[in-house]
Symmetry: C2
Subunit: 124 residues, 2 copies
């Protein structure tokens, strides 16, 4: 299944960037693309995941699956982010066995959200 990897590209991780300096989130985004992303992972930049105090942050999501948000990341974590996203895409239900998750996914979870139970609107 193709999954979505949202990367906050505006994150400053609590730091004030110097003039002309690239935001830490944008650096993480670039490093993820440079790490080589499989076709099963659709990388989407986003302005703010509202996890500013725990940035840099990313989110993994796909239809019918739990969504996951991870934080306290930097560009050095890019290869692990890609590996974790690829494992999420490869798992038939999106639930990767605990031990197969990168350490940053085991220790730096900010939140997870169950898939939406689709509630049919009342027919009139």
């Amino acid at each position: 299944m193709t999954v979505t990897l949202h990367v906050c590209v505006t994150c400053r991780a609590g730091q004030s960037p110097r003039e002309g300096e690239t935001a830490l989130g944008a650096r993480l985004h670039s490093a993820i693309l440079e790490a080589g992303v499989p076709e099963s992972v659709n990388v989407v930049p986003v302005e703010c995941l509202s996890a500013c105090s725990q940035g840099c942050s990313i989110a993994l999501s796909a239809p019918g699956r739990w969504s996951y948000v991870y934080g306290r990341l930097s560009d050095v974590n890019a290869p692990d982010v890609v590996a974790g996203a690829a494992a999420y895409a490869a798992a038939s239900d999106g639930i990767v066995p605990w031990r197969s998750r990168p350490e940053i996914f085991r220790k730096q979870s900010l939140a997870r959200i169950p898939s939406i139970a689709v509630v049919p609107e009342t027919a009139e």
Copy 2:
């Protein structure tokens, strides 16, 4: 639109509950139901939103909308959670004007996730 309000009912918010004591998350869940939830909000209990260090936590989500996760909540916040969830349901795109959000939603965001861009699988 009917939206989903996930409430972590296992959250202990970093505390060790005494024997026989109801988990803080379960107390929040009960308080939300007692506060009176509109039909537009589908309350779904869930075991762990993986935001344990920032509990109690809830998540708001709906098809085609941003999902939001809030934390550092307790049962006294139940009326505000319901008001915020109702506003999310009532907003045509799920984006409630900043000033119309309850203070706990403005100040206690853990994360937000964009709606999933549906990527069609390649036709064989």
